[in-house]
Point group: C2
Chain length 751, copies 2
Amino acid sequence: MLQTDPRALPLLPLIYMAWADGSLAPTEAALIRDAAQALDADPAALDRWLDPQAPPTTADLHALAEALARRAEDAAAGDLVALGLALAPDANDALAEKVQTLADALGLDAPDAVSDLVSVDARGADFGRMQPASLDPAPITAWLERHRPADRAAVRALLADEAFTHRADLRIDEKRAQTLDWLKRVADAGIGRQGYRETDPEGALTRFVAAFETLAEFDVGLTVKAGVQFGLFAGSVRALGTEKHRGVLRDAVDMKLPGCFAMTERGHGSNVRALETTATYDAERDVFVVQTPDDFARKEWIGNAARDGRIATVFAQLVVGGVSRGVHALLVPLRDDAGQLLPGIRIADCGPKMGLDGVDNGQIWFDGVTVPRDNLLDRFAQVHPDGTYHSDIASDGKRFFTMLGTLVGGRVSVAGAAVSVSRVALATATRYAVRRRQFGGKGGQEWQILDYPSHQRRLIPRIAATYAISFAQDALARDWEALDAGGEDDAASRELEARAAALKSMATWHATDVIQECREACGGQGYAAHNRFAALKADSDIFTTFEGDNTVLMQLVARALLTEFTRQFADSRVFGLVRHFAGRMVDAVFDRNPFVTARTDAEHLRDPAWHAELLAARQADLTHSLGMRLQKRLARMPAFEAFAEVQNHALNLADAYAERRVLDAFQRAFEAFEGPDAQRAVLDRLVRLHGLYAIEKGRAWFLENGYLDGGKARAVCSEVDTLCAELRPDARTLVDAFAVPEKCLGPIARS
Amino acid sequence: MLQTDPRALPLLPLIYMAWADGSLAPTEAALIRDAAQALDADPAALDRWLDPQAPPTTADLHALAEALARRAEDAAAGDLVALGLALAPDANDALAEKVQTLADALGLDAPDAVSDLVSVDARGADFGRMQPASLDPAPITAWLERHRPADRAAVRALLADEAFTHRADLRIDEKRAQTLDWLKRVADAGIGRQGYRETDPEGALTRFVAAFETLAEFDVGLTVKAGVQFGLFAGSVRALGTEKHRGVLRDAVDMKLPGCFAMTERGHGSNVRALETTATYDAERDVFVVQTPDDFARKEWIGNAARDGRIATVFAQLVVGGVSRGVHALLVPLRDDAGQLLPGIRIADCGPKMGLDGVDNGQIWFDGVTVPRDNLLDRFAQVHPDGTYHSDIASDGKRFFTMLGTLVGGRVSVAGAAVSVSRVALATATRYAVRRRQFGGKGGQEWQILDYPSHQRRLIPRIAATYAISFAQDALARDWEALDAGGEDDAASRELEARAAALKSMATWHATDVIQECREACGGQGYAAHNRFAALKADSDIFTTFEGDNTVLMQLVARALLTEFTRQFADSRVFGLVRHFAGRMVDAVFDRNPFVTARTDAEHLRDPAWHAELLAARQADLTHSLGMRLQKRLARMPAFEAFAEVQNHALNLADAYAERRVLDAFQRAFEAFEGPDAQRAVLDRLVRLHGLYAIEKGRAWFLENGYLDGGKARAVCSEVDTLCAELRPDARTLVDAFAVPEKCLGPIARS
């Protein structure tokens, strides 16, 4: 291990120590080369130890340490320089001086320096002024909101009204009344109508989404109630009903008819197909009889049910002529105009919740409730007066999934609201972090807490991810609108459903994580209710569960990706797979560009194309290995069990897919940024940080599967630190660009 | 790549596919060997492909895939068998049959199987009966509570009283009154007194901790108020005061004198040394004058201040004879017996918080408040009537840290409460998971949700970690008590302070994570307030911030470890380091037992000694590299900046230390388990799961640093899955053993 030019030997202890923290700066390498030259050593003798981009392996360093340790035992107690000289064939004073010079230059000779760190003194307290934004955030806001800016502005103008003011410590009944009043004001401003072309000539789904996202900055309870009314209830009438239901739709979007979306049952949240409520056609009376067969089938968690709802879209097993036709939806009135429950309807309040006090969730039981035949939402299936059932969609399964496709709107909306609450949390915590000071070097002013690398890591990658998810969400909403306008396209529908499921899960888990991290980053101030983390957390916590439980949704995503996988190789699956795998992995990553895995320089680590390539390779690799695992199991066990056995793998795949789609959306959106160069430069860093951070988060997998080696993985982490530090001066600009109105932020975040 | 016995060539496509999911079962390897034999191939020809414990590298598999893909292009479209035959030197029907047999046996010939998975049907809903515990949990409870079981039982008996009943939707003032009433009942039961030998002949710190932990199962607000009164207030009087303060101490533990612990200021939460409140000795009047110099120095978040506190331990800069002596504590009365504020005292309510409605946090300003000289808590420093200051501890810094040592009790208590809320959350979610059913194979009953591997991963490793932290907490509390009884031991005090800081951070972050995961695992039911996650979350969220912000505490831990590091090598630091590093890394991990890194069999992966060795090596390695990084920086920049630059590394070290200590405590405690073999077998698995899961969580670092390779890391993940599945039948037993009273659990968790 010590075989090198003997004249270079005295430098080895210093080289070892220089590498001991896992990295060698180019300046350090240059100092060592200079010293080698001063010792007349062969310049090539130290090459293997001095390339910052090709670090010695862990094993190499271990071996060197071992060799040095053996010599050290022979030598008298001393320092690195003494050890180096002990290795030299001919030590003398001149040599000692040269080695000492290098030790000094490398900072490896500071006696007792580490022990000085035991106590840190600090003086001077300053809660301080908030650091101003480094750049004008307006061009960035314009880019973030380049679609539907007018609708966002209109909602912000509405929210500026004093009626929209949070009051602390309202009781639940008061909070519900306040939320209902707010929702009526929102409807009066035309925001419900604007969501659909059927109710507004300029109506568009993305207009509703934009309004929904903006409302969420102010109050998630109001947002959820608006979602129940305009999204789930009105949306189900629009998507599943026909011309004859247009009156209900119009009254719904104007809040003249408060309604519910009664799908979930106590026994069945996620497994909608197994719902037990029945709607039986009685041909004699020409009515459907709606029945809750037992307590497990009561409708559960139904928004608007406990207090305000007059009518509900009810999902039930349709029975016609004694034949069960699967889950269908029909309109069932709940209360009369005076708010009294109608015969056969029983409703109970779900009681206090973690949050969303403004939303009146209830349980509903139906006992022999009759509704006219026309109340069936009959776009995809009709029942004729003679008791015959008809559907253009022959397969029960396909019809079920077509109807469930209407849930995609709820998922798009919730993903958007999750992005909004993430923005509010990050704007608050980041503004606090550029005002609050704590600790600092001796004698000087205390540091702003965002100056600490650990605080940068808490906030800045999350700012980047929030931008990234914003753009993925924007693309999703626009594709949803286009698909809705364009009519039937099965493949595109399935792709959109999978993407909505993935993005809803990712955005809502992200929001939960962001709120928690930001709350902690604001310390005790984060715990004060007026700083809004309490409400953000309590109200949005259910996002990961409703509109589809995230874990269940992510399994649907994995299934969809497998479907694509089997379709792609339907003709010759096995040959295709081999070719596919070999082609992708070997060509793209290893053979075509062997340099890819070895480079650890900043240019490469920050390369968006490399980020995209790696995330795409991970998705393809996980799809392939999941397919293979299933294939091996399906010969031995039923499909359901086989899928359960590979469930954790499936969830990893769905995650990988979501990460890739989000990065892709962010990178594409950045290409369309048209603002000034200064802002462009900041955003360029932000995009690169997001890509590199995704790799860092997933580095265990990349290491396991040979896409990264240890040295490169460490370089990735170190470059993430550097990018965070580079973005730190612009952090305030980046959160100001979210344009969250001041009234939606807590006092610690206000200018 | 295809160089092997030509007779084995037809098997290569099948071997590739068998490996394609990253693992090969021993049964699969055996099938392939049998087939090779049937083909008369050299048995050794396939050795490199068939050792499940030494998988081919990713590069090997890529190369094989590439070679196969090249042949595949020449071959006609077909399947794996056809490709194998195309590789054979002499294909014939007999050969085809043998290869086909292997393909069938391996399950690699199931046509279209994967595509069957697109939709899953399920029937039959059953909220279901809760699965009973598999084993008697009592022996496990006895082990968990082997210290101070009587105190836990006494608190549970007290809590059984109807007065201790949660009422939904109380307003804040009502909740505060209820909590004060509860606290008086707790004091009346003697629980405050029992904490100290000064107030109860049988008094002991661990008796207080046991009571505190048990109260936390019922109500965190009550627990925090008890902590403020008996722990922080009474504890500070006891630890910092002298004989003359014993009357105050006795009144404090009996709740005759509700008190506060007024340390934190608005401008200074974490940086206590920089507090700005002053206490100036006025020799003429023989009093201290307490002053809040400006609004940044107001006392903030002080528990008991807004409503109930009569007196406070106030931390202030002591000024005697014009000389500032640093932060000291003194008793300052706040209110008279009628509850009226005393002259010079101003108190404001901190207002609504995320949770802890029952705790009356306030802000306090002092304006020329005078208190007698005897109100100085004068154990470590005294002021004489003539205006002279005396302390046996010469150094201001050392005196400060000695006084701050009294904070350790608060950290021990909070860690304990964090374990308690984790237990409540896990008991609830696990019981729900063995009752709730959702989805299932065709025709059969739906599965219990704990039967899904993803659900097992959510709960079971967290159950293991909660056990582990329980035992680390138990050891910490007992060591604290011993140290408190044993008098002065600087090194032991520092060790305990670091351990308390690490464990407080780990336990409270764990609680936050556990509550979130359990809430989500209960879906909508988790969001209902009566199932308690709302309160657990809202009330405990501040745990990560108060009694020391976790991120700040973890940096103190890292500093303490570095101190140890420099002390250990004080004589000959550099030589020592080299020897230390080389000795540990090379000998322990690589040279002494080269088998260690290669083995992937279950026996090895589950070996507690290996788990301990790996976590110890990580801590030593991170300590070493952190020391080195600092060493390199300290020559170039001030210590504070140098430490800031390596802050993220320091946090990793503190994490690694906490993980190691917790695993160590769990393994030691298990050695002392004396219950029946059946329970022992379950706990043995649980200890192994905890160790292996710690490695899995940290596998990115272990991979980066050469302690694991990719194949072994995958094997670790897979073995964690297996252990979770093995523990699944006993999950209910394990959470029942927490012995959380039914009244402390939500309805979904009750039998």
